[in-house]
Symmetry: C2
Subunit: 242 residues, 2 copies
DNA sequence: TAGATTGTTAATCGATTAACAATC
DNA sequence: TAGATTGTTAATCGATTAACAATC
């Protein structure tokens, strides 16, 4: 139907690279899922959950693919990495498939998320409803500004970033979202890593360095707009002569 | 050094798909740049700009690659899509290269951005400093809530989304950022497209449909966290038996 | 000339698509 | 049995990497 592309995010992770040995003993269980497929599985999961919400019990690869904006070929291939949970000639049971995808993605236990930076973006993220409903608990929010420390944000009070390590420890945080200026991002990132957090999502517009074993993802608004600009410009100038 | 991956964002664009004819007459000018390369070019551009800020005049592919977190091979290959702006045996002149990348990305003229949704996220985006400095002017922000319409956000006043078409027209908006709930995203998106905007960045957690010729990019916080969860879980369970 | 570094080619690797045999 | 749809295989396509000839 229309071309669907993955692009954009940088993930620095040493977890993909070494196949980690272990010659996958049973079925699709211990297997590596290709990064592109992981990203799409989250989309299928969302589509399945809205089907579930409206009471749909079964779905074919064809319709789930359409809801997700991919080809049915891609969808079936992606699902094959998770396992074999459909019925030929029939389709997939929505709830059953949803559960297995969630399990494959590691969404069965709850994740505790701390946000560093209580500026506009940090506050927006802390209050964002989409997290709790998907098994992500925001358990802390930090800022360096003493005028902001102690303020209420959603259900939380802003902690002093000076107490970062202690609060991460006490709350059992296992994921951190960095919503802070480029200038301080690397040093805070280092402290977060040293404190034992191995999953970091950064909104800071800089390349951060993390050691092996730490997964870092990056979201950058300016980058997104620049990519849009490239496409818009191409559309306007279909082929300018030098 | 470490594995660098592109993943994550969905771009629905029909602009990639048809090579658009025009057998590229001169050099690399009218050529298609592969999506993965476009995303990285924005990173190089940022690195070049910080080099420029600290007064560095020349840089080799090796060091620029390191700053950007890619291999020098990838970097040179990416630059080759833009043109040939280095000197063998010497390297690249920072300012010169920066300008050419900016031109290739279509960042030479200013883009006018409107934000739809003046909730936490919309406000955070409107006040985000990274835009102006990169040639993106935020010219309008909208909301449907009459309690919010007329409020001040940064330099702007919140417009009524009822006046969407008129304001987009008057401000000359050519990019829209959707920062609104899933439920209303598609209908607002349709209005934006009908108003003639062809570049849309959506933060709404739904698959949006856009016609051919419109470029849509999507950023999704919950998806990002789910991808982190997948990696974290893998790290914990190096190969669980069934 | 000797050393350095680009731009490009060819080889590898991974992701997408099409097609179809298996099977409900 | 006939129709439908999965799961998988093989073919295509695109992206990354390594290597090196061109050249400053």
């Amino acid at each position: 139907m229309d071309s669907q592309r993955d692009a954009t995010e940088q993930t620095v992770t040493s977890l993909d690279s070494p196949p980690q040995a272990l010659p996958g003993p049973t079925g699709a269980a211990g297997k590596q899922i290709p990064p592109a497929a992981v990203a799409r599985l989250t989309i299928y999961l969302r589509a399945l959950n809205s089907l579930l919400a409206e009471g749909t019990e079964r779905v074919s690869s064809e319709s789930l693919a359409e809801l997700s904006g991919v080809s049915s070929s891609t969808l079936r291939k992606d699902l094959s990495h998770v396992g074999s949970y459909g019925t030929r000639g029939v389709g997939y049971e929505v709830q059953y498939l949803s559960r297995h995808i969630a399990a494959a993605l590691g969404l069965t236990h709850d994740w505790k998320v701390a946000i560093v930076g209580a500026g506009n973006l940090g506050k927006a993220l802390a209050r964002y409803g989409g997290f709790e409903s998907r098994g992500f608990d925001v358990v802390a929010i930090f800022d360096a500004d003493q005028m902001v420390v102690g303020n209420e944000v959603g259900w939380l009070r802003v902690s002093d970033v000076a107490d970062l390590e202690a609060v991460l420890e006490r709350t059992g945080t296992n994921m951190v979202v960095l919503a802070l200026p480029a200038a301080v991002a690397q040093s805070i990132c280092d402290r977060v890593v040293t404190a034992g957090v191995r999953s970091i999502l950064s909104f800071a517009p800089v390349m951060l360095q993390v050691p092996d074993g730490v997964t870092l993802r990056k979201v950058d608004m300016a980058t997104e707009l620049q990519i849009l600009a490239y496409h818009a410009q191409r559309a306007q100038t279909p082929g300018q002569p030098e």
